[in-house]
């Protein structure tokens, strides 16, 4: 299975794909200087999961800030996840948002609306 481990910086989130059952986590703040360069490996890792997954994938997204370019990259990641879901290899997607952050709550709802077939949950960050 494709695995990935990107450490967080003050401008980019921590991103990992690992474990059994497989779990993909994105957490932190996202406003990279070069969004395409940062998210490129993530987009391709997700796309390659379609052929490498043997167990159902759990996805957790826990972002504290996202700029507009990062949202565009997340769309591409969600398209990849949709493809995984079409192969019946997706267990769940959980979108976490900070309690008092209506922007991130609404962003999660936007993604849920755009990808209505996905098992999508929105929760307040613990």
């Amino acid at each position: 299975m494709t695995s990935l481990n990107i450490q967080a910086t003050d401008r980019t989130p921590e991103i990992s794909i690992e474990g059994s059952p497989p779990r993909m986590r994105i957490s932190g703040e996202s406003f990279p200087e070069d969004v395409a360069a940062f998210y490129g490996p993530v987009v391709f890792a997700v796309e390659s999961l379609v052929d490498s997954l043997t167990e159902r994938l759990h996805v957790e997204i826990n972002l504290a800030y996202v700029n507009s370019s990062s949202i565009k990259a997340l769309y591409r990641i969600f398209e990849g996840i949709s493809e995984i879901h079409s192969k019946n290899l997706l267990e769940s997607i959980t979108w976490f948002y900070p309690d008092d952050d209506d922007i991130l709550q609404e962003l999660g709802e936007d993604f849920k609306d755009r990808f209505p077939d996905l098992p999508f949950q929105i929760e307040i960050t613990a």
């Binding site: 490996p41 507009s68 922007i103 609404e106 755009r114």
Partner: protein
Amino acid sequence: MTAPSFTFYDRERALLAEGPELLARADPLEIKDYTIRLLDRFEKVVRENEDLTRHSDRQEQRLVKLNKNLKTQARDLEERQTKLESISKNLARYLPPQIHEALFSGQHETAVVTKRKKLTIFFSDIRGFTEIAENLQPEELTDTLNEYFSEMTEIALAHGATIDKYIGDAIMIFFGDPESKGVREDARACVTMALQMQNHMRSLRKRWQLRGFSHPFEIRIGINTGFCNVGNFGSEQRLSYTIIGGEVNLAQRIESIADPGGILISADTYAHVIDLVEGDERESVSLKGIDRKIKTYAISGRKQSRPQSFKISHPAGVSVDLDRDQLSEAERKNLADQLRSLADDLS
């Protein structure tokens, strides 16, 4: 192996790139399939664009709100700062300036802590103040006393003194803490300050007399140098930055026996100013609460520096050019006698 590159809208660009060739071939089935894919992608792009615009607007609203809050906070902060400055200015009048400055720069310890340090202590009071006070209207007394304190304080601060407190008509000052230029320089600064105070009192007395004040104040000054405990005395609730110790009491006792208009200093202080001021040794005295005889010096003024070389040149043919240090005591005396005799003959 190089990772395949990802760019925004790469899928859309790839789809668009297929268009010209397909249209050139003009195969209706191919065009139909292409149109369906184009519409699907176009729909996704429109949705993404809607979401991104909405998200961007939300972020902008938050920024505007934050900016407003920031402006309000900055205004509040400015108001608080102005208020604090005003409070600080008022508070400064109740504290020695050095302590006030140290407190507001965060350098002053506010715990109940004291240290032992050699300081020069100054006391002054107004001769016959009780009787003067009885013969004056309270308003006149207050105004004159405040004028006196204010002008003495100005002199004290100009010499770097720490004003400990005003006790009725008395002033208690010390040199050597929180700032010190060394024991000797502190003692010299204190005695120099005392001389200036007494000089200034002469001007003040004239001013008061012109105003019709029949009993202008006359002050006594006492100075001593010795080890004291200095620091914050009191409790955690209320502190007083002051000095205590036998040497403080001694300074006060010396002041009590000083002549009106005079400055009386202890032998310990005199040792530091012997080359600076004229001092008349007084008979050692016993002072209340002090278990030894105390030697004091009455200070009459600064030592006049005597010229070291003399030059006289007169058209009548008289010419003198001598260096004082080149003559012995006897030679100087002999020459002075001759010159005096010559001067007598000439006049």
